[in-house]
Point group: C2
Chain length 421, copies 2
């Protein structure tokens, strides 16, 4: 590594690809989750809510009753009132910023007009959408905003949110408050494959939806994939990923917090720092040690790169969920990073801001799927209709169209155009 002293904790950056490949080996789900999800889906399709209730009792709340499964608007409003004032104010601020950013994404019809007529493509909001809001140690109101706001901006008519029941059966007041902000019609209190199946195929309590969006565990991801021939889905989200690219002037103690925050996402999370600066790597390592979070520290990987360009290249090749470019040298490369779900530019742009209040969406592609998929957007909540209205001189069109159609041995295609030419 060119005579630069390496931190004992740092591996060469060339090792990152294989570490990442190992972390991603299972994809968004494995064969075990797929098999389990398949069984749950079959049971929910056959028996409906009672099948969901069985899963809820097994994993979420032992004493759950059928009446607990669905919370309507009135119940959500009631629960929302008990949310602490500072939490409500904070969710208000997050809501405003996320809404404003997504408003800019509102899709626009396009058209092309000439002597033959006009062709257009026009967006319509999806009619009914189901959003998954997972539960960790507690409820995640932020994910209710991130899935609900783009639906609201798009103009989706009916939004139902599915989120696992708490062990005590109470509806989290902050979650309820977030659901009132996004104007959700109902909360179905189940998660994982059972929730996906209920949303996809409907139950007595729940009408089927047109599309299912939002993150979940590996069982939910497997279930989304399994139902995706019958209902729309967004991307398959797997464990969270962060690659920090840092140049010398980055703030080591702040980066340590970003890496710990990433590790906080759980055992599948990938948290890596790449730098060409041995001093910075050592400083981050020291800062991490000071937090005395052994379990979290064990999930954090440090890599040494020959230069900041090589570090940025490695981040791009990884196509991770998040990239943070910390320090001026790293931030200067931001235009080169285009294979990540989200890029955070400059030391002050903590990744966590993107999870809550920056305005961008925190439902992001993971597992390398950023090569083809994107953050959740307003676009995910509309469908487009092509509209063809021809009334002018169609002679040239009919002649050209019929020539190609006859080449394709589509006789009546040709004749139907010629009849209008």
């Amino acid at each position: 590594m060119g005579g630069v002293a390496m931190s004992a904790a740092a591996k060469p950056v060339s090792a990152m690809a294989s570490d990442l490949a190992r972390a991603r080996r299972g994809g968004a789900f494995g064969t075990r989750e797929r098999a389990a999800a398949k069984r749950v889906i079959a049971d929910v399709r056959r028996r409906g809510d009672p099948a969901v209730l069985r899963v809820v009792r097994a994993f979420d709340r032992k004493g759950a009753r059928s009446d607990d499964l669905l919370a309507d608007r009135a119940m959500l409003r009631r629960a929302a009132r008990t949310a602490p004032r500072d939490v409500r104010a904070s969710l208000d601020l997050a809501y405003r910023r996320v809404y404003a950013f997504h408003e800019g994404q509102r899709p626009r019809a396009t058209h092309e007009r000439d002597g033959a007529g006009v062709v257009r493509i026009t967006p319509t909001p999806l009619h009914r959408v189901g959003a998954l809001v997972p539960r960790g140690a507690t409820a995640y109101p932020s994910t209710a905003l991130m899935t609900g706001i783009p639906a609201q901006v798009a103009g989706v008519r009916e939004l139902v949110v599915a989120s696992p029941m708490s062990a005590d059966g109470e509806i989290d007041p902050a979650l309820a408050y977030a659901l009132t902000l996004v104007d959700a019609d109902a909360l179905y209190r189940a998660g994982g494959a059972a929730a996906v199946a209920a949303l996809a195929y409907g139950t007595k309590l729940l009408a089927p939806v047109d599309k299912i969006v939002g993150p979940g565990n590996a069982y939910a991801a497997a279930a989304k994939w399994l139902v995706s021939a019958d209902v729309g889905i967004d991307a398959l989200q797997g464990p969270s990923e962060l690659v920090v690219v840092a140049s010398r002037d980055a703030d080591a103690s702040a980066l340590a917090l970003d890496l710990l925050a990433q590790a906080e996402h759980g055992s599948g999370a990938f948290a890596a720092l790449v730098s060409s600066d041995g001093t910075l790597l050592r400083d981050v390592d020291v800062a991490l040690a000071e937090h005395r979070e052994r379990a979290l520290r064990a999930r954090i990987l440090l890599y040494h790169a020959p230069n900041v360009g090589a570090a940025a290249h490695a981040a791009n090749m990884a196509a991770p969920e998040h990239v943070l470019l910390a320090g001026r040298g790293a931030a200067a490369l931001s235009e080169k990073i285009h294979r990540a779900g989200a890029v955070f530019i400059g030391t002050r742009s903590a990744v966590a801001f993107g999870d809550y209040v920056a305005g961008t969406n925190h439902c992001l592609p993971t597992g390398g799927t950023a090569r083809w998929s994107s953050a959740l957007r307003v676009e995910d909540f509309v469908r487009w209709t092509s509209r063809v209205e021809l009334r002018g001189d169609l002679h040239r069109l009919a002649k050209a169209g019929a020539t190609v159609a006859r080449h394709e041995r589509m006789r009546y295609h040709a004749e139907s155009m010629e009849a209008r030419g």
Copy 2:
């Protein structure tokens, strides 16, 4: 039916939903196709091109050799030169119109800026895309345009097209010409599940792609679904569908041609006419009989509706691939139809124009998936990256973000924001 004399051939419109449900029962693919596709994918992943060659020999060309599998740019240019002049001129016209319409769809970055900084979302073309171009009685150059043009407008770097080999081993000159127009890098001469597997996972001849788009048979659809956790796919296209809604002044002989053209798509195709006008239904029935196409006629269904509004409603509920609104009364309802893949407005707007030269894309959602999915668009060939660049006063953001993060028991998320506040 309000005393209106019904055509003997017409059923009440209430029967359409169940007829359509029966036609769609298998979805884009059934369990048989799924099992076969699974085997082919496993074989192609294990053995690569030789596994593809085995399928090509079994279904497309007995004597196919490994060297025949891939055609490069030079081979395509050579084959294109032998396309008849009128076919080339017709493909040129189609290319110009489809390109112009798709150019209007080019995606634009959006951003939101305030005292805290700027958040953006920016599009990047996909790097490498595989497009499926099926083969019927002959090659379909029109589908090469429909899949290739939006890729080209998006700025996709590498486009490889997969299309089944002909029985004589020759490359169809018109297909080759269309491929040179869309600037395809190569033609992989296989179809169905084998082509999908080769594109998804790569072979010796073919690097893997980031996304697979375009229509195919039920085996290709099953394969696309099976690989969709590992690579991007567009919608799962099933058999083609048309619902014509016609009012009294529609041109019966032209409509008969549209219905025959739809039936020409093969045994799975759904071709329906709904009208409240008994005379028109009878006239279309007579016009159909005059064509003496028994097999095609058998696939065409006529329905009688109490009024044109009910006919349009039935079309909307069906969410079919194509709707044609023929006659002034039907055309007036065009804004109410928003659950179809494409709407053709007015008697002169033959559906076949949309297959070739109108400008809109002919890769459309089928099987009711128009409830959530759309025509192939430029959007399908880009990915979006969120970009967060905060550098101003972050105090309020950090406070609000940390409050929500602590509620979600994400301690380091909170601290990482506070460190920047």
